[in-house]
Symmetry: C2
Subunit: 431 residues, 2 copies
């Protein structure tokens, strides 16, 4: 992996990092790295995520899903960190004969549409919840189970469970002798892509799990006490240094359709880990070249509060543009679509620099398993570093509990004062 | 449509709007409304978009696509405003026997995957470009044409063109006697959803075009000189008033999977129209309930710089949750997934208010054609109002031209100084 921070330096961008600022930041990176290394060594909560490439056993995952190897489709039932990693990995690795679908919401119309579109007798259901009590996931799983039964399919033959060491989903798996995998201990959901949480669909699809883990391992091995020696830390440190200078938005813009879920995965990683104590960059999800025709006007000419993170593979399969029979388009002839996409990548990067807007280039060699594993791990390490530099509790998400209690109370699941607050809403309706 | 701004008032939110601020804002709304009404009356560039519901002729669209009524799929080839409106309308109106796919990028792998997945002999190609020279769209169209020819399909029998009065795409349509529809004069792409630009796929799918336009018309008829009498203006004015108080992010979070493209469409509308002169809220695209498990931590506990716009239909088809055989989940039994989703909507709204974070509730009765037309029109009118209040040139997007010239220069399409600037990139690589 290669990170180019040239366009985030003060010589190009405003706000940008001067050489002196970069040196000062690098001193802090050294101390943060020591903290991270100690956390990994001790297997501390959260830091333990950075040990996943060596902890995850691909054979155990393949063994668990072996009874489902005849599947035509995998349906992941999970939400947040229990779904985004799997979606990111499976999409990034390209199309498979085994379709991967995700139910990570409780929209009744959508749920019904997805169930109607799947060959249920050939579908593997991959249900993921650490606690085994996540309301959205369990409600959806109950609906999926019933749909399978109604279709004459024995759901116990077609379900794999990934959950924590205890809880109702674990009990259910034991009761019905379902294949069950462990959510790794000490790893928050958003950091668990390189474990069973993220790899079950890829395993059923026959993707290269060893390659994914080897890529993660490579990124792990590259962690070093200076941002100048470590791409992951360079990214995390620059993002944090810019946030200290008023850059409150991080727009992540991959130039590859297969990385569209990656931008969503990144958005959770960044928002839940760093969005606390009144700080934290807001991740904006974009896609190149498409969003040049949607967001670029704002990125170039709006408030100078954005870092644009441009991501691409250096190599990609090509598709030639036929010679145009239109004069104005003659210049496109002889080029490939990929060449056009790369020209737009470089043009957008330069156009942001010309407008003094900080941007960083993130490149992997090509979109294969190793590169995807490396990219995910590097962004996790960047996030952990940014959390250390910002002094926040990177691995918790306390602010979502209020709403969970309120929703549970509204549904009659207990007596919660938050539910009462819902009824006291200040209304000012305009019809 | 119903807008509830209660949680954006100073009694609930910080920043929030006091009653005095609301009154002062309302005086400005009166003047802005007069300007907008005059622009509509004179058919001025941009303002003319707000006349589309009465200008668009659904019969002309249906007539143009009549030869394609046997299609199993529609493939839209366009980018930005030439694609997002069509995607938004077709997805919001729910599944159809005619699948709608979009190629709005130049990713070679993805383009090949989409072409491989389509029954080309039964696919209608809907190519959309005002100028007829948009590089991404035309390059993709050349690739699609060739794929059809290679599959033994006469592309001239399966293509419908929507373009401006002049240009190479118009000439091509005339040469091959293709059905051709007009991009409406005076209407920027991002404001053209309720014209042929947004309605061709819906027409082929058999959706209710009259309903969409009637909904738009209803929203148009509701424009009035006070924000207290007009939901569209209430939304635009509150968003602008909050931006003046430091709310630089607008997170749009529909609680309906069918509105996921709507959030993207809104993001273009807001970013390209208002992101200029160093100002403009950054649109963040979210989806409820899913992003409660991804973004809500940041929205509640991060910087107080966000307006969260919560959107939902008041009625939706329901899907019952079967009685759980798990004690901890007994409370879910007897409820529907939609009830759960609505409880989460209200819980999230209250949880934001409890953290003093401003939020606005946008509700339509149900996701039918009228409501979708009304919602799109209302957001356009809100955006035009916000542009007036902010004193920006709402209908232009000058900042994207630099990159277009650079990309064209890089591909040998002319001598552009911007292309030379690309080669002068400041590099600082970390590997």
């Amino acid at each position: 992996m290669n990170i180019d921070i040239g366009n985030a330096l003060a010589v190009e961008a405003d706000p940008g990092l001067s050489e002196a600022a970069l040196e000062a930041l690098d001193d802090r990176v050294g101390a943060a790295h020591d903290r991270i290394a100690a956390g990994r060594e001790a297997g501390e909560f959260g830091y333990a995520a950075l040990n996943l490439p060596e902890r995850t056993d691909p054979d155990a995952i393949r063994e668990a899903v072996a009874p489902l190897s005849d599947s035509a489709a995998v349906l992941t039932v999970g939400i947040g960190g229990s779904a985004l990693g799997a979606a990111t990995v499976s999409t990034a690795l390209g199309p498979s004969a085994v379709d991967h679908r995700v139910l990570d919401n409780v929209d009744p119309a959508h749920t019904q549409e997805v169930l109607d579109s799947l060959p249920l007798s050939e579908t593997a259901v991959n249900v993921v919840s650490r606690s085994g009590t996540t309301a959205e996931t369990l409600a959806t799983f109950l609906v999926v189970r019933e749909a399978m039964t109604e279709a004459g399919v024995d759901w116990t033959e077609r379900t794999v469970v990934t959950t924590g060491a205890e809880g109702p989903l674990r009990e259910l798996a034991d009761e019905h002798a379902l294949p069950v995998l462990d959510v790794p201990a000490g790893v928050p959901g958003r950091f668990s892509a390189l474990s069973a949480v993220g790899l079950v669909p890829a395993a059923i699809q026959g993707h290269d799990l060893e390659g994914l883990l080897a890529g993660g391992q490579r990124a792990g091995d590259s962690l070093a006490p200076s941002l100048l020696d470590c791409p992951a830390y360079a990214y995390g440190a620059v993002a944090h240094g810019l946030e200290e200078r008023g850059v409150t938005v991080n727009a992540v813009m991959p130039y590859a359709e297969r990385l569209e879920p990656f931008a969503e995965w990144f958005a959770q990683l960044w928002a839940e880990s760093l969005g606390k104590d009144g700080g934290g960059q807001t991740p904006a999800r974009a896609l190149g070249a498409t969003d040049q025709h949607s967001q670029l006007q704002l990125y170039r000419a709006g408030p100078p509060d954005k870092l644009v993170t441009l991501v691409r593979p250096r190599e990609r399969p090509e598709l030639s543009v036929p010679e145009p029979d239109i004069d104005d388009l003659a210049y496109l002839g002889g080029h490939g679509l990929g060449e056009l996409l790369d020209a737009e990548f470089e043009a957008t990067e330069a156009s942001l620099a010309a407008a003094d807007r900080p941007n960083v280039r993130v490149e992997v060699d090509r979109l294969d398993a190793e590169a995807v594993g490396e990219l995910l791990y590097a962004m996790e390490a960047a996030c952990v570093l940014a959390g250390e530099l910002g002094g926040v509790a990177t691995f918790t998400q306390p602010a979502v509990e209020w709403g969970k209690r309120a929703a549970r109370g509204l549904l009659g699941g207990g007596d919660f004062e938050e539910a009462a607050a819902v009824d006291e809403k200040t209304e000012r309706e305009v019809e």
